[in-house]
Amino acid sequence: MLRFLSRRLLQGVFVIFGLSIFIFVISRIIPGDPAKMALGPRATETAVEQLREEMHLNDSIPEQYYYWITGALKGDLGKSVNTKRAVVEDVSEFLPATIELVIVSGIILIVVSLLLGVLAARYKDTWIDALIRFTAYIGIAIPSFVMAIIFLLIFGLVLQWVPVLGRLSPGMTPPPTVTGLMMVDSLIAGDMAAFWDAFEHIILPAISLALGGLLQEARILRSAISDNMGKEYIAVARGYGIPNNKIMNKYLLKPSMIPVVSVMGLDLASLMGNAFLVEKIFNWPGLSRYGLNAMLTKDLNAISAVILIIGLMFLVINIVVDIIIAALDPRIRLGD
């Protein structure tokens, strides 16, 4: 197990290193002069030249990479052209909101998908199963940004069940920042009103973010369960008179979880990708909205930083998922 983990970590470090080269290459293939873009069209020739020198743009590409990566390791990812601040400062301001959204969304995804998957398999070929599968197909086919728009419209604007924009209502005083996660901070401060308000704000974006993956997993779990239903070991368990719900909850569920968890890992990780759009639509002040703005304005340092941070989060999630799979599957845990 330990060897498996350390190998996985080493691989992760390598991947992040590769990713940094990749990001760097992308940020340098951009047409036009980054220094000129940073200073705007009215900048003087000397000012541009000075900034070029500062940004090491006159050095060779490997040298430029060296400066960039050593800076990144020291926590210096350069300045944002948009906010005129250090990118690291921006990231630390916006990241917690994204993490909070992704965590809430991830919890919804895991809990609801397992519930629906088991339900569909248990009531296989009944109307419950048909309804869940039909919803799953529709849900997978509708892009998450469309889902977000529809949710915003129905529950936020027409029914007005929940507030829709931002993390807290305008009149609400945010709790003192401890973790940066609004709901956790308000609990720490003992401010239940703020907690509830934050919850109401996060629930809609979190659901729209989780929905696609959730339905996908429910479907995979259902089909894994129904595939395994035909396995000899289930017939044997049945032949020994093991009660039906025991077969369902133990003999069937555990082996069926393995394919679900591996896809779920990918989906949990891609929550961060879809967060880009959901944050935009719900005006959620997170890293993704910041990143998307950076992309649309070609704010290179900000783009690189956002991709790097997301790559890191992606890696962490994947390692956690690998650990869970290892816990479920003895073949992986004990090594062949």
């Binding site: 035909g230 396995k231 000899e232 070991y233 017939a235 044997v236 368990a237 049945r238 032949g239 020994y240 008179g241 093991i242 009660p243 025991k246 133990k250 003999y251 555990k254 082996p255 393995i258 479920l328 599957d329 003895p330 073949r331 004990l334 062949d336």
Partner: protein, 323 residues
């Protein structure tokens, strides 16, 4: 026939396929007496396993029983309610699966799986963990495995095929039962191990005074282990006789062909075997299913299905040549 324990009457099991229904079990009759060892012999795919799985209602969903009954102590298992059936599965009859690798759940330890069998064998009684463990250890020991604690803590993939086969037997015997159904045990293993498994099974059944239904494709194996043999061909039982009678005086042309395949010490080389293949189960021709391969087939064989006829008290055959 007062000591008749289990009997299958005119059982028909059909599989649903893309080309229609495959009539895989075509009216099988079979009886097992108390303490008797019965063999069911036939080629692969002749419906042996399907017939046996019907006894505990373990067949896959695409297979369903079209007609017939399976009586255990006078009660029809096929019409039984769930609770009664579970009682029989837990305490009376066990089936040892053909593929030990597929029969064990890959994500649970052997111990976990055996303990569940013990746990549910008596729902009124609450077994302690120690009781279950010691029963499991005894069962593992009884199938000649040393180091039972280690085996119980292992996962199936960590064990060899022979080991897994023994564990499957142990699982079937961990609770005392009246009938044990063994589906080609050891087929996937090499001959010496297979032989050990057969001996083991034979001794355990004798020791515990159980009835045994042994499914095999080899008459040779059946001869060593069982008292009475049912020969099956393409979903039909074609001949039933005491083991000795069958070998002395085989009647059905298929049985005769099968006997030719059993290697003899004094024989002259390899036998010719039986010409041809098992016919299709979907829209089979009327008449005897063996007719297309039968050296003695006549017109009537191709038109009508022969019924089971007794030639003497313990020997019956389904063939027009003896009617």
């Amino acid at each position: 026939m007062t000591n008749e324990l289990l009997s299958i009457k005119d059982l028909e099991v059909w599989y649903k396929t893309y080309r229609g229904y495959a009539k895989v079990v075509n009216g099988v009759n079979l009886t097992v007496n108390k303490g008797e060892k019965v063999g069911v012999v036939g080629e692969s795919g002749c419906g042996k396993t399907t017939t046996m799985k019907s006894i505990l209602r373990m067949n896959v969903q695409s297979a369903y029983v079209n007609s017939g009954e399976i009586l255990y102590s006078g009660e029809n298992i096929l019409k039984m309610n769930e609770a009664k059936l579970q009682e029989i599965r837990r305490r009376d009859i066990a089936m040892i699966s053909q593929e030990p690798s597929a029969a064990l759940n890959p994500v649970f330890t052997i111990g976990e799986q055996i303990r569940d069998v013990i746990r549910y064998s008596d729902t009124k009684k609450k077994f302690t963990k120690e009781e279950m463990q010691s029963k499991a250890i005894d069962a593992i020991k009884s199938v000649m495995i040393s180091d039972p604690e280690r085996i119980l803590a292992s996962y199936p993939y960590q064990l060899s095929g022979g080991m897994k086969q023994r564990i499957c037997i142990a699982m079937g015997l961990v609770v005392p039962r009246n009938v044990l159904i063994a589906d080609e045990p050891g087929t996937a293993l090499d001959v010496t191990i297979q032989d050990q498994i057969h001996r083991l099974l034979h001794n355990l059944v004798e020791e515990k005074d159980m009835s045994l239904i042994m499914i095999t494709h080899s008459l040779g194996v059946a001869r060593e282990l069982v008292d009475r043999i049912h020969v099956m061909y393409a979903g039909d039982v074609v001949e039933v006789a005491k083991t000795d009678d069958l070998f002395k005086k085989p009647l059905h042309p298929y049985t005769i062909g099968l006997l030719d395949c059993v290697p003899k010490l004094s024989g002259g080389g390899i036998s010719e075997g039986i010409y041809g293949y098992v016919p299709s189960y979907i829209n089979p021709a009327p008449g005897c299913r063996f007719a297309s391969r039968c050296p003695k087939a006549t017109q009537i064989c191709r038109e009508q299905k022969p019924s089971m006829t007794s030639v003497d008290a313990e020997h019956s055959v389904a063939c027009f040549n003896y009617q």
